[in-house]
């Protein structure tokens, strides 16, 4: 069984984002970029499926400019076998990405597609679900455990009240939550080896998809900031303030 993993290049999660002075967007010039943390978990899960003999090949795909090949190589260093980059301007909309991924799935015929549940830049949490819908396949979102059993994949999902387990007919789409696994660090020899693994570059036109969105960004602003309040010296003072000043208890 083949596993397809879709990944996204995003701002490094340790970097605090700045808004451009003209409020047109966030400022990504000279900012450290990295693989989206949820995508890293997706790659790790796929590689573990291969190591345990469930998967035979792990293919990584990303939609973006040439710079995202850095993240595809990073995924290969973690154990993915080959990569596909679909050339597009950075920041394509989720629906276009889902349409492109659907075409890749039709060509590659994976048994499982694993994606991160959300990218930490746009925070949309939708591409995996959209892909599943376009393919008319089942989805196991926010996964904390993935088990392949015959023709089915059993996915434990993190839901608001606890955990839910679903059984999905394969091929199926899984999106990862934080606790699914802890991604490994790439070893130097693997980083070197990754440079020689095959990486194919495609254009959206190769798949007959036009990357265009009817959703436009009007402006970006900083959120309202909260002012720091006061320090209290004791529990008694705290209780007094909460009771008589804030009136919340």
């Amino acid at each position: 069984m083949k596993v397809l993993v879709a990944i996204k290049r995003v701002i490094d999660y340790n970097v605090k984002v700045r808004v451009k002075a003209d409020n047109s967007d966030v400022d990504l010039a000279n900012v450290k970029m990295a693989m989206n943390p949820f995508c890293e978990i997706a790659v790790e899960e796929a590689v573990r499926l291969k190591e345990s003999g469930v998967a035979s090949e792990v293919v990584v795909v990303s939609v973006g400019s040439k710079s995202c090949e850095e993240q595809i190589r990073a995924a290969m260093a973690l154990g993915a076998d080959r990569g596909i980059r679909i050339d597009a301007e950075d920041g394509p909309d989720s629906l276009s990405v889902a349409k492109l991924l659907a075409k890749v799935v039709e060509q590659e015929q994976p048994g499982l597609v694993i994606l991160g549940k959300q990218a930490i830049d746009s925070d949309n949490n939708q591409t995996g679900q959209m892909l599943a819908a376009l393919l008319n396949r089942p989805q196991g979102t926010f996964a904390s455990e993935v088990k392949v059993e015959g023709e089915q994949v059993i996915v434990t999902r993190e839901i608001d009240g606890g955990l839910q387990t679903v059984a999905l007919d394969m091929p199926a789409i899984v999106t990862t939550d934080l606790r699914l696994n802890e991604p490994r660090y790439a070893k130097l020899p693997d980083i070197m080896k990754a440079k020689r693994k095959p990486l194919e570059v495609k254009a959206p036109a190769d798949y007959g998809v036009t990357v265009a969105s009817k959703l436009s960004l009007v402006s970006v602003e900083l959120p309202a900031t909260r002012q720091a309040g006061i320090k209290v010296a004791s529990v008694d003072e705290l209780i007094d303030k909460l009771r008589n000043e804030a009136k919340v208890i």
């Binding site: 949490n125 934080l178 009817k214 009007v218």
Partner: protein, 308 residues
């Protein structure tokens, strides 16, 4: 212009997140309909019919919707979508699960986690873990969006909308519910509580959370945690408050032994009053706290509990 709100419920009870989503729908303007899809969920439909501003409740009562499987629910909503200009769900794990399917099948993008309605086609939503707020405009024929409950007040009750059954049984037949493990707690639900007490890595262990449970029980509060406390294995993930956990906005938020990482602040900074208790006076949490107490939590939490 008519908006369809998909109700959040457990077949018995309408969840408060739906009340906030109805408020967002009312702000868009036009009629508001609510879809209750579930199994033996007449009581939920009756509750929805009493929401102020709702003119019609669609009830799809069928065993295929019992567990709100995204594959089935998505198909149902799409089959009803023709009559609507806007389709809204709460940004809960249920809404986030099925609504993007609806958007994709309607060939439109989804607008996620809306926090403000600027115009019927223009909305505000947080990006980069709430470190920036984007205003987005959609030219899609149908606006499909999830709504962040903490950003909108709950709508009033006292209405009396008609309840009509919608018949279609959409069973995609490709996914099955196997089971669930829901956290059983006597305390209020984290996202609906008016007081939340949260612990961070400073709690030191899962056993020490007992201090917070005691305090919470005295105050009628829910208990949350930072991602660091969850990652350290102190408490289960469904207690996590933050970008990757739950969004809360209670009247009072008490952060205990918690530094206040950006991703945690993203989940609680809309709280009305924030109290921080931490022995490190440099902790970033103090920058957003209305009242800060620099002290050892193991001394002051029992003291606070006994004095309340």
């Amino acid at each position: 212009m008519t908006t369809l709100v998909i109700a959040e419920h457990d077949n018995n009870e309408l969840k408060s997140a739906t009340l906030s989503t109805v408020t967002a729908a009312t702000e868009i303007g036009g009629d508001v309909h609510v879809l209750v899809a579930g199994s033996q969920c007449q009581a939920v439909a009756d509750a929805a019919s009493q929401l102020a501003g709702v003119s019609k409740v669609l009830l799809a009562d069928n065993s295929v919707y019992e567990h709100q499987l995204a594959e089935n629910l998505g198909q149902l909503v799409v089959s009803l979508a023709g009559d609507y200009s806007h389709i809204l769900a709460s940004a809960t794990t249920t809404g986030k699960n099925f609504l993007p399917r609806v958007a994709a099948l309607l060939d439109v993008n989804q607008i996620s986690e809306v926090i403000a309605v600027v115009a019927p086609d223009t909305f505000k939503r947080p990006i980069y873990a709430g470190n920036a707020i984007a205003t987005v405009k959609s030219e899609d024929a149908v606006k499909v969006m999830t709504v962040r409950a903490t950003a909108f007040d709950r709508c009033a009750t006292g209405g009396s909308a008609e309840v009509v059954s919608v018949g279609e049984s959409c069973d995609a037949g490709i996914s099955k519910f196997v089971g669930e493990q829901l956290t059983v707690s006597e305390r209020p639900e984290l996202t609906a509580a008016s007081i939340v007490v949260s612990g961070g890595r400073g709690m030191g262990s899962g056993e020490n959370f007992e201090l917070l449970y005691k305090l919470a029980d005295k105050m009628g509060a829910a208990v949350g945690a930072s991602r660091a406390a969850v990652d350290a294995g102190f408490v289960p993930n469904d207690m996590q408050v933050g970008q990757t956990g739950k969004m809360v906005a209670p009247d009072l938020y008490i952060a205990v032994g918690l530094s206040g990482a950006i991703q945690h602040l993203a989940g609680m900074k809309e709280s009305k009053v924030i109290v921080a208790i931490n022995k490190d006076e440099e902790a970033p949490i103090f920058q957003v706290a209305d009242y800060g107490l620099v002290a050892d939590l193991f001394e002051v939490i029992p003291e606070l509990e006994s004095k309340l």
